[in-house]
């Protein structure tokens, strides 16, 4: 079957290129911006997802994992006494200053456990071992810190709150939502650094015994620790994400970006399709004169919109995937999960078909008698 839609698109090459470029721009904008957003949210919960705890005991109303508040570390003893708890350990999470060789001071998020081997923190250790942290003032530093702290290597020393620590290993992907690098050290060392941490902890990580009823354990922990929050990992991750999305305006920002991306796409596609429809109005009149219906013409415009959508999406996806290594170079993770890609693809199809509706309205009223006009 002859496709007038395709042939007209190829006939008006410049317009076609502009349309596809417009869709590609909109798709790239949405994919990269939302991908960055998802990447940031991923960072916001990366330690929660990796730690391997079933339940997190936090200070009451702690907004997210990075903004930890302290409570007495003896809470862990009450947690250990609850039936169904296989293991419970204190975890300190605290912002601390790192003194650099240049004299500059940079921030770090310190994660401190008494026994790292019992938890999946840190989860990616290309150099050294978390077990070495017990042997004095030692730490594992995330490789992303090179952007903030400058080059460093295993064996180097860095000063944290006036205490010299030796770097005994490195980690990967351990950075906070704000891209502040995470430093892992022994629990007692961390407590020694800050007065407010002495006798206190930030969290209690809880691992359930096999077959334990998570809801029942959670309820019992809440009963025993009435001044704390007890959350499942999923609840805690959701709460941490929600904080950044709602409290910082990031969600609104993303919403505006997506809206603008869609708006740009709709305007470009609608404008080019509409202009094309107007320019081909006599051809559409001819289609009607030779027996075609409005549906035949809608089909032409719809097919053109879908072709622009598919090609524009493909191009936009290529650009977005191409941007990932560049973004990764500056520690920005563009997350493009398949589900999200599928949603954007369907959204692009709908956006282009929606834009074609403007042209539908224009051609619906074509008087086929115009074919007799010169």
């Amino acid at each position: 079957m002859v496709s007038l839609a395709r042939r007209n698109l190829l006939h008006d090459r410049l317009r076609f290129v502009i349309t596809v470029a417009g869709v590609a721009f909109a798709v790239t904008l949405v994919l990269v911006q939302v991908g960055l957003f998802l990447g940031l949210l991923d960072k916001a919960t990366v330690t929660i997802r990796h730690a391997g705890a079933d339940l997190w005991i936090t200070s009451r109303h702690t907004p997210n994992v990075d903004f930890a508040r302290t409570f007495p570390e003896t809470a862990v003893l009450r947690a250990r006494g609850v039936a169904g708890v296989a293991r419970a350990d204190n975890l300190i999470v605290s912002f601390m200053n790192v003194q650099l060789p240049s004299g500059a001071v940079e921030g770090a998020v310190v994660y401190a456990l008494a026994d790292f081997t019992a938890w999946n923190l840190p989860w990616d250790v290309p150099e050294g071992s978390a077990a070495d942290l017990k042997r004095g003032y030692r730490l594992l530093m995330d490789r992303s810190a090179v952007l903030r702290y400058g080059p460093f290597a295993v064996g180097d020393e860095r000063e944290i709150l006036g205490r010299r620590f030796r770097i005994v290993g490195t980690t990967r992907e351990a950075a906070s939502f704000t891209t502040t690098p995470i430093v892992f050290m022994d629990y007692e060392n961390a407590q020694e650094l800050l007065e407010q941490l002495r006798g206190n902890t930030s969290y209690v990580l809880v691992k359930l015994a096999p077959g334990a009823d998570a809801a029942a354990v959670q309820a019992e922990l809440r009963r025993r620790l009435p001044y704390n929050d007890v959350l499942t990992s999923e609840q805690w991750a959701a709460q941490s994400r929600d904080y950044w999305v709602k409290s910082t305006g990031l969600g609104m920002n993303m919403g505006v970006t997506v809206f603008l991306g869609v708006l740009v796409g709709v305007v470009i596609v609608a404008q080019t399709l509409y202009t094309s429809a107007v320019e081909h109005i006599k051809e559409f009149g001819t289609v009607k004169a030779i027996g075609g219906s409005n549906l035949d013409i809608y089909r032409i415009l719809g097919e053109q919109a879908l072709i622009a959508a598919v090609l524009g999406f493909a191009l936009g996806a290529v650009f977005s995937y191409g941007a990932r290594p560049l973004m990764a170079g500056i520690q920005l993770n563009v997350l493009l999960p398949p589900g999200f890609i599928a949603v954007v693809f369907v959204g692009t199809l709908l956006m282009c078909l929606g834009a074609a509706l403007f042209s539908f309205r224009r051609v619906a009223g074509i008087d086929p008698a115009l074919v007799f006009r010169g």
Partner: protein
């Protein structure tokens, strides 16, 4: 007398714009028989094109009836009108109205697609009618690469595709030189004779009379004896 393939019976057309009421056609009755060539002549604004639009089922009359290939059309029945137009009427326009992005073959094939003929059948039928109008060597040319006469032949091939019983032509020689226009008229005459199509040609061109079986004049919306 040959069987009528087209008949207008008491067709009146009134256009109203605001308070203005213009009666363009006033009770026109005419017919075209199978294999007959009828020339419709008249000055500009006399109602020729409006009559062509009405008998071509593109425009509905204000009063009167139209019958095409044995089907009497009711006013407002646009679905039947479109179906009869698709099946039984072929148009040839003054400006050719070819699809510029499609080759000669595709122009004809596309009109067949619109008429419900698809695939190989459409392709073969398009090639056949192009050969019929003498353009078998120009099948893959775009309209911009064809001369005026060749474009009009493609338009005629498109009108012929699907074997409609009625051909309606609007000033088919207006944009052609004398020689080419003469060739097109010969083609029309030959098609009418050999394929038994009823042909109504709206024209200013006196040369059309050479091929016409009848010449009908139209003045101020009424039929008049042609000179």
């Amino acid at each position: 007398m040959s069987q009528n393939v087209l008949r207008a019976d008491g067709v009146t057309k009134v256009f109203e714009e605001g308070r203005q009421r213009v009666e363009v056609l006033r009770g026109i009755t005419m017919e075209v028989g199978a294999g007959e060539v009828v020339a419709l002549e008249g000055p500009s604004g006399s109602g020729k094109t409006t009559l062509l639009s009405i008998v071509g089922l593109i425009l509905s009359p204000t009063a009167g009836e139209v019958e095409v290939a044995g089907t009497r059309l009711r006013r407002g029945d646009s679905a039947t009108q479109r179906e009869v137009r698709r099946r039984s009427i072929g148009f040839v326009f003054q400006q050719y109205n070819l699809f510029p992005a499609l080759t000669a073959l595709e122009n004809v094939e596309y009109s067949l697609n619109v008429r419900g003929v698809r695939g190989r059948r459409a392709h073969d039928e398009a090639a056949r009618v192009l050969e019929r109008v003498g353009l078998d060597d120009r099948q893959h040319f775009l309209p911009r690469d064809l001369s005026g006469g060749q474009k009009q032949r493609v338009a005629i091939a498109r009108a012929l595709a699907g074997s409609p019983r009625v051909l309606l032509a609007d000033e088919p020689t207006a944009n052609l030189d004398t020689t080419t226009g003469g060739q097109i008229l010969d083609l029309f005459q030959e098609l009418a004779r050999s394929e038994g199509k009823g042909l109504l040609v709206v024209t200013h061109d006196p040369k059309v009379r050479r091929i016409a079986d009848r010449v009908v004049g139209i003045r101020d919306g009424k039929l008049a004896e042609a000179a």
